[in-house]
Each structure stands twice: as C-alpha cells, then as structure tokens.
C-alpha cells in the first residue's frame, strides 16, 4: 500500500488558517489501511482542529467526507454537491488524491493533511515499512524476493557494503541490512551461487529518472 502519516497539527493549522469552511476528505484505500486518512482519522483530525481553533478563539466549520478512492475521477465527482459551500479542501489521501481534487476543482484550494511516505507493508500492528520504490524494472526475481533498491540504505545492487553488522545496517540498529536478508533467503533456497551474478549499472529511466511515468493500456480505453 501507499503509506502516509498525518502532518503535525500546527502545520495543518497554518495551511488552513485563512479559511472558515473546510471540506475534510479522507480516502477509503491505502491511507485507511495505514490509519492515516480514513474515516476515523478524518473524524479525529476534524475534532482536533476544531478544538484547536476554538482554543484560539475561532470557529472553523469542517464538513467530513471519506471517498472510496481519491485517485479515481469517478469518486471525486461525489464532492461536487459540497464543494461550493466550502472555502478550501483538506485531503487526507496520498499525494495522488490531493492532486486529483486539485485537477477537478480548479478554483478551490486543496491542502494535504498527510505526508505521503512510501510503498510498504505492515510488519505488525502499528508498524509499516518500506518495500518498493517503483523503479519500473523489478529485480526481486534475482534477489530472492527482497528489494535492495527499497531496502538497502545505499540501494546497492551488489551489496552488502562494509557497514553491515550483525544483520543490521550501519545507519541504525532498527534497520535490517537488506543484503543480509537477501543472502539468508538465497541460502534458504539453495541459490547461493546467484549471489555472484553481477548486476550491471541500472537503467533508472524506467524509474523516476526518466521523468514522470505513464501506463497506457489501449485495450482498456
């Protein structure tokens, strides 16, 4: 999923402070799963903001809505009946959702209420960790199902570097050494020899290096 984390309340307040009527929009997809921008977080942020504004002597009206998906134009249409009665939109979706709202409602300011973080998985309740950087040229097939691009701090394709210590990365004891994981997995699979395949300089053009990316499927148009 795409993970996100709520921005600090103060930052959100600074963003929306000129407005009196806000539409606070959540998304029922990834940000709901990572508890950053679903229905519940919309309600929580709404009450926190209202308390904060009341404390500073202001009444700000907040309409709450949570869309099935903010990254699809069909669902954005559901905001149409509400948009005229508000001064600005505060979106708790990932950056994709925020931009879809901005695209649809050209004359309405839209603010992000979360920081979009990464594509990750839930390790245990309350913990999400990065797993993929969308490099556009998946090499999990040669690295035993563990991604060195997303999970090695230096994204080394021929690791591990000299900073790997007791399975941990040199940047901190909370970070697993991706290459230790890769090696353990290759060993478990009996594929140790694969480690010695040299991965040549990567083609980053498939990733962000090639500029904004697009997928076109004519069969679906």
């Amino acid at each position: 999923m795409i993970t996100a984390e709520r921005k600090p309340i103060q930052e959100i307040m600074n963003l929306v402070s000129p407005y009196k009527n806000l539409l606070l929009v959540g998304c029922n997809e990834c940000v709901t799963v990572c508890s950053a921008g679903g229905r519940k977080e919309v309600a929580l942020l709404s009450s926190a903001l209202q308390v904060a504004f009341m404390k500073s002597g202001r009444i700000v009206h907040i309409q709450e809505m949570t869309l099935e998906r903010q990254c699809d134009p069909e669902y954005i249409e559901q905001l149409v009946p509400h948009i005229d009665s508000v001064d600005a939109v505060l979106s708790l979706a990932c950056g994709c959702g925020v931009q879809e709202i901005a695209r649809r409602f050209k004359e309405k300011m839209v603010f992000p209420g979360v920081n979009t973080k990464f594509m990750g998985a839930s390790e245990r309740p309350g913990v999400w960790a990065e797993r993929c950087q969308g490099c556009g040229d998946c090499l999990l097939g040669v690295t035993g199902g563990i991604c060195p691009i997303a999970r090695c701090s230096k994204r080394l394709q021929n690791g591990p570097c000299g900073g790997s210590s007791k399975g941990k990365c040199e940047i901190g004891p909370d970070v697993d050494c991706a290459w230790q994981l890769i090696w353990d997995r290759l060993k478990a699979l009996g594929l140790q020899e694969r480690y010695e395949t040299l991965l040549p300089a990567k083609n980053w053009r498939n990733g962000r290096g090639g500029g904004p990316r697009k997928i076109v499927r004519e069969d679906l148009m």
Binding site: L156, G162, G163, E170, G172
Partner: protein, 307 residues
C-alpha cells in the same frame, strides 16, 4: 602493464607496496594538502585521497589529487558513488587522467546519515562494483558506460575496498570475487586488528585463487589510545577490535599508549607480511600522518624500492 601506475609497477616487481592516506581539509587550504602529503614523501608509494570521507564536505578528492600530483607524488583518487552520478564520475575520471592521475579506488561511501549534511539526497546511481565495471570498460574498451567511444580513454589502475570483518562473514570472499569479476586490480582492506579473522578470510581468498588476479593490501590503522580502541570496537560499524588489544593499551599509562599503538601496528605488519596473498600495506593514520614514516621504518619497509 595495464597502466602507468607506480602501484602496478611496484606489485608486478614483486615488492610489498605501501600506501597511506591524506584527508583533504574542510576549507580551501591547498597548503594543508601539501603539508600532509609532504610528510609521506619517500615513505609510501602512493597516497589515497579521500572523497568527502564520513560524508562530510571537504576539498574535492580530485583537486587534492592534482595538488599532490604536482608535488611529484602519486595520489590514489578515491571516488564514492554517494555524491555523483555516472556522468559526473566519468567526467572526473577524464579530468584526473588529464592531470596524470592513473590510480583510483572505487567505493560506495558512508551514508549521508553520518555526515554534516544528513538532509542531502544520496545519489547511488552506481554502486562500488558497478563503478569498477565502468572504469574497467573505459580502460579496456575505450567506451563510456553509456556506450560511446572515448577519445584518449583514461587508463586507470583500479582499486576497491574490502572489509573482511563486516557481516555476513561468509559473503566476504564472494563479494571480493564480484569485485575481481568487475575488473578490480587491487584491494585495500578495512583496518585489521583481528589478525586471526583476517587470516581466515585470506585463506578463503587464496582457496578461490582470487589473489592471483588481485593485489591485496592489508589495512593498518595505529591506535592512539585505549579510548580510541574502545570507540572503534563499539561505535564504528564493521570494525573488529579484539578485547586483548584494548586491555593491552588500557594497562599502560596514558602517555605510553600511543607508543604501544605504533608497536601493535608494526607487529601486525610483521605478521601479515607472511600471509599468502598480502601484497602490501595501506597505512591509514587518521590525523596522525607524521607517525607514518616511523611505522614504515620500524616495519622494515624503508627505503621504498625504485621502480
């Protein structure tokens, strides 16, 4: 000879090579570079010049290399892939070669997390092994990584690092094999304190006959004090300092510890000279360059042979 590198000549003549290190200053101070390098003149064959070591901004490695080359010494251009992409790395190599710098060391570099610009983006367009491959392709095929021909391709003697003490240990020989495959000519290792473990690693290296194609230089860093030993033991990732060494230093009064540190370094060199596959010593005396001549003399590596 693949290159005009003095280091290559030294190895091929069968001498034990000696290199040391010069960290460029954190300021536009060419005299500092010259001062440090001058201390090493006559005692080492070539001088490594670090590239924003520990992810702190310093005078560029290339510039300091040029200054050192102009003094008639032989610099080893260290290049980390953390700060520059493949375009910048290759253009710097052309520049280095234009100044008669013909020996380099390919590294990935410390993560910016450790340095003075922790908010910087890390580049890592290439990793160290891909950089070795790139430099090798430039030399052997006269082509850039992108495939175009190079007019007067730089003929670099290609070095790489190895840390026999990082984990997982069982990968350390295999990773060296990858560096050899990529085209590395020589290796400088991480500082060696645990001699037994190093010897075990070298056994693995020789068993795979990697020493036949790679000149391996053992890394030596003299310990200045018991405090430094403890710090290296506990705080520096991928460093293996045995307790006996810490105890040996700690048993002495503070003013005798530095002397003992030098003695330990000399003893290590004497023992490692006998290890199959060791072709030289890389003496990294961090901010202690002036003690390098003494270590070289006491270890019987002086005078340096002319090649």
């Amino acid at each position: 000879m693949k290159t005009e590198s003095v280091l290559e000549r030294m190895f091929k003549a069968g001498h034990l090579a000696v290199t040391s290190e010069c960290g460029p200053p954190r300021g536009a101070l060419p005299e500092k570079v010259r001062e440090k390098a001058e201390m090493l003149r006559g005692y080492v064959d070539a001088v490594n010049v670090t590239d924003n070591q520990t992810a702190m901004v310093r005078m560029s490695s290339l510039t300091a290399c040029i200054l050192i080359r102009q003094m008639g010494l032989h610099p080893i251009l260290q290049m980390v892939t953390r700060d520059r992409n493949r375009l910048a790395l290759q253009s710097d190599l052309l520049g280095a070669y234009a100044f008669d710098i013909n020996t380099m060391l390919c590294l990935s570099g410390d993560h910016p997390h450790f340095g003075d610009h922790p908010t910087a983006a890390n580049v890592y367009d290439l990793d160290s092994i891909q950089l070795i491959q790139t430099v090798h392709t430039m030399r052997e095929h006269g082509k850039f990584q992108g495939g175009d021909d190079i007019a007067n391709p730089p003929k670099m003697f290609i070095g790489a690092a190895a840390n026999p003490f990082a984990d997982p240990f069982e990968l350390r020989v295999r990773r060296l094999a990858k560096k050899a495959d990529a085209g590395a000519d020589f290796i400088q290792t991480q500082c060696i304190y645990n001699l037994d473990k190093f010897e075990k690693w070298m056994e693995g290296v020789c068993k795979r006959r990697l020493h036949e194609n790679l000149f391996i230089m053992a890394g030596i860093t003299p310990l200045k004090s018991a405090g430094m030993a403890r710090y290296m033991q506990k705080k520096v990732p991928g460093m293996d300092v045995p307790d006996e060494l810490v105890k040996r230093l700690a048993a002495l009064p503070k003013d005798k510890q530095a002397e003992e540190g030098i003695t330990i370094a000399v003893e290590a060199i004497e023992r490692l000279k006998k290890v199959e596959g060791v072709c030289g010593f890389h003496i990294m005396a961090i901010e202690w360059e002036h003690r390098v001549p003494e270590i070289v003399r006491r270890a019987g590596l002086y005078p340096r042979p002319a090649v």
